[in-house]
């Protein structure tokens, strides 16, 4: 009769496992370390990109931006000479409103999306118009559309994801990479790397980028359901560079608690896609461990005043021991 109760953990058990809850994240961490005035730096991807380039974080190359409805028709000029690109809202969240064009035929204006869907010009125009009118932005305010280069993600993820762009999310606390996972799009997630849409989350060892634990829709898994690949064999290359992007993002924004979304480009290495001032808590499930103890340790014993590189090395050495 009370079997359903078993699907609930007691607060004590969770606390013991070091799980960080939403309320505590908002109250103890975000409201303490992320001053609201810094949000615009990460909410607007155009701004984030500019800042990142200044500080030396590589990002996908910006092809063009469209700010006003009357400029929407300029899209054809902007993409002139481009074969493939991504159109996305500057203030979108959770991968909403991202249109990936794999193949663009200038003659006749045929667009092919990542999922192979054929789009006509007016459909793309419509999409841009939707972005500008704020359909995908937080609070529905007017937005800017960004056109940027398409990331050619590294082959190492090829077997693990179904379409879309797999990425690595690094949680950075006070400048120290604290936890990481890779998010792999599935058929169910519609090619998007969002866990709540059905993407797979695989927790990564912060010291070496190796898979720890996999989860899909909050259920532990070890095999990618679409491709059958063994998730536990994932080992993200250029791990130090990944962590360095996260550490630099702290310098760049001043946010004490942030999530850096990083993609691994086959030619250009790790590139930062976007930053998040309120990263979700699902990463704990993907890693199979709570975040609270980890943050506590950083509070307690990690030195302050180190440079980004020193912090990354500190993390790599510490965990390796």
């Amino acid at each position: 009769m009370f079997a359903w109760l078993k699907s609930f953990a007691s607060p004590k058990e969770l606390s013991k496992a070091g799980v960080l809850g939403m309320n505590r994240r908002n109250f103890d961490i975000i409201s303490q370390y992320n001053p609201r005035c810094l949000y615009p730096l990460v909410d607007d991807k155009v701004k984030t990109k500019e800042l990142a380039n200044k500080i030396g974080i590589s990002t996908p190359r910006l092809i063009g931006i469209i700010e006003y409805q009357y400029e929407a028709k300029n899209i054809l000029d902007i993409i002139h000479g481009q074969k493939e690109f991504v159109i996305k809202p500057a203030q979108g969240s959770g991968g909403k409103g991202v249109l990936v064009i794999k193949d663009y035929q200038e003659e006749g204006h045929f667009f092919t999306t990542a999922s192979g869907r054929q789009l006509a010009y007016n459909e793309v125009y419509q999409h841009i118009s939707n972005i500008l009118s704020g359909l995908y932005s937080l609070g529905g305010k007017y937005d800017t559309a960004i056109v940027e280069e398409l990331v050619h993600f590294s082959d190492i993820f090829k077997d693990y994801s179904y379409q879309g762009v797999p990425d690595v999310r690094v949680i950075v606390y006070k400048g120290y990479p604290a936890m990481a996972m890779t998010r792999l799009p599935t058929k169910a997630s519609g090619g998007r790397a969002n866990l709540h849409q059905g993407a797979i989350g695989v927790g990564l060892d912060i010291s070496n980028g190796k898979a720890l634990h996999g989860v899909c829709r909050d259920i532990p898994i070890t095999i990618q359901p679409d491709t059958g690949a063994d998730l536990m064999k994932i080992e993200v290359p250029y791990w130090r560079e990944h962590l360095l992007i996260g550490a630099l993002a702290y310098e760049m924004t001043g946010l004490g608690y942030l999530g850096a979304d990083i993609v691994l480009d086959a030619r250009r290495g790790p590139m930062m896609l976007e930053l998040n001032a309120r990263p979700g808590l699902a990463i704990q499930i993907a890693n199979g461990i709570g975040l609270k103890n980890c943050l506590k340790e950083i509070d307690k014993s990690y030195p302050s005043g180190l440079s980004a590189e020193e912090r990354v090395d500190f993390v790599l050495n510490k965990r390796a021991k």
């Binding site: 953990a9 309320n23 109250f27 709570g290």
Partner: protein, 510 residues
């Protein structure tokens, strides 16, 4: 960091504590002095009684002495007004008589005495009062004493308590020969009361006369009816002198308890006293002002909600339930952890459900949502811009509501008519959000959001639909302060949400 939280929490806790104390005091005050009740629709019987005294002066100085009602727990005089031009009015409090004096006059005299009586039926007969002195036995000659004793003996065979027994015996049809012999040829109510009183005195039961009025719609001028009040088992109980029935009959208002004559007029003749009685049922809140007046606390009452015009009171009554609904939302989101569409959307839905009624509202909501979503899906093919699209949805929702109302009226199906109470813009946004979520995150997430929103709305509905809770939140509006600090204190809650206990279950090591 920890210290800071502790202090914020500490301050809020202190405020919460203070607000509870303040609310507690106000509740006590309102119940005690303004007569507020914890239950809604509590009405109090207010009687407006007007006595019209007229007499012809005889040319001597005039002195009119009128009995007045005596206030006690169950019986309060709220307002007293005397219209007696040129008379000097004084009050004899111990005998509770109103004395009006004037030099000699000539023409026909009219004096009006008007009171507003509050008759607390709840505490009737429950009021204990100090035992009156044992009545002196009436002075009877031997023959009469024997007859009286025979009557008392006979009475014992009748049903009821001793007082009813006597009354029943005296009123029996056909009359017992012993009764017939005892009673005078012509009896009036007054004589009857005296006889009963004498018989009771023989049994050492204290009794007194009571005057009151049987309210009759058709009659405007009344003469008072007499009843007898006897002291038994530690309290005064009132008896009908015709039937011996205990207690005050329905639609009967007591005017005078105990005391002597109703009116004495010196310096006048052919005096006539006529009463008109009006019963009005008012809520205990309306009565509060009168009570405050009696206690010389008008200022405090004047600046309260309850002194406002009724229309404004109703609006404020509606508003004063909002904080509780908001508290529900905070609990649902931050403690339970249900993700809803928009923060206060469920609350607004709950508010609509109150106006429509639960099932009609749910049905209407389902119809509007289904049709709205269908239309929205068709519309998504047109690739409209955001603002025109949402505007189109708004218009569609209005059209759906119109048709529902018309169809409902024609089919005499009142459920559908409640459609108009749903907030149009909110409904449109729910439809828009749902369809976007549907497209972006799949049907599963969209349905989950709708269902969670509904669950929160329903839970909120059940809290705020209770007439009882609504009444309490309005009558004791200081409770809103308590809710405020509860909400603020919840803002410092950093524990797990209920849904997280399930979500993070896999993280617990076995």
């Amino acid at each position: 960091m920890l210290k800071k939280i502790a202090s914020v929490r500490g301050i809020l806790s202190i405020f919460l504590f203070l607000s509870i104390i303040y609310a507690g005091y106000c509740i006590y005050y309102k119940v005690e002095y303004w007569g507020f009740h914890f239950t809604p629709k509590q009405t109090a019987n207010i009687w407006s009684i007007e006595a019209h005294i007229s007499f012809e002066p005889t040319g001597e100085p005039i002195k009119v002495s009128l009995t007045t009602p005596r206030s006690n727990d169950s019986f309060k005089v709220l307002e007293e007004n005397t219209i007696a031009e040129g008379y000097k009015i004084s009050k004899n409090k111990t005998a509770s008589r109103l004395i009006m004096t004037s030099p000699a006059r000539e023409e026909l005299q009219d004096i009006y005495y008007k009171i507003l009586l509050f008759d607390n039926t709840d505490s009737r007969g429950k009021t204990k009062s100090a035992a009156p002195a044992t009545p002196e036995a009436p002075i009877f000659d031997e023959q009469k004493l024997a007859a009286a004793k025979q009557l008392l003996k006979l009475a014992q065979a009748r049903e009821g308590d001793p007082v009813s027994q006597i009354i029943r015996l005296l009123n029996e049809e056909p009359m017992h020969p012993a009764v017939q012999a005892y009673l005078p040829v012509k009896t009036t109510q007054k004589i009857m009361v005296e006889i009963i009183s004498d018989l009771l005195a023989l049994k050492k039961i204290p009794s007194q006369i009571a005057r009151g009025f049987k309210l009759q719609e058709s009659k405007k001028s009344l003469s008072p009816d007499l009843m007898i009040e006897a002291y038994t088992n530690g309290s005064w109980r009132i008896y009908d002198i015709k039937t011996g029935k205990k207690g005050i009959p329905d639609n009967f208002v007591l005017f005078q308890r105990g005391g002597q004559s109703l009116i004495d007029v010196e310096g006048g003749e052919n005096s006539v006293i006529k009463f008109s009685v009006l019963k009005s049922i008012t809520s205990s809140m309306k009565l509060a002002g009168q009570r405050a007046k009696l206690l010389n606390q008008e200022d405090r009452f004047q600046y309260s909600i309850y002194n406002l015009p009724l229309a404004q009171q109703n609006t404020l009554k509606w508003l004063s339930i909002f904080p509780l609904a908001i508290l529900m939302i905070v609990l649902m989101r931050n403690v339970i952890g249900l993700q809803t569409m928009g923060t206060f959307t469920p609350m607004l839905l709950a508010m609509s459900l109150i106006k429509t009624g639960f099932w009609p509202g749910m049905l209407c909501f389902a119809i509007i949502m289904t049709l709205g979503l269908l239309i929205r899906f068709v519309m998504s093919k047109f690739n409209l811009l955001l603002v025109p699209r949402i505007s189109a949805v708004v218009i569609f929702v209005i059209l759906i509501m119109q048709s529902l109302t018309i169809i409902g009226y024609q089919l005499d199906f009142h459920i559908a008519q409640s459609a108009v109470f749903f907030p149009i813009i909110i409904m449109s946004w729910i439809i828009e959000r749902a369809s976007i979520t549907w497209e972006e995150d799949g049907a599963l997430n969209a349905c989950r959001e709708i269902i969670f929103s509904l669950v929160v709305a329903i839970a909120t509905y059940f809290v705020i639909s209770s007439e009882y809770i609504r009444h309490i939140m309005f009558a004791f509006n200081e409770l809103n302060l308590v809710v405020l600090f509860m909400v603020m204190l919840l803002g410092t809650y950093t524990g797990y949400r209920l849904m997280e206990l399930k979500r993070f279950r896999p993280l617990v090591k076995k």
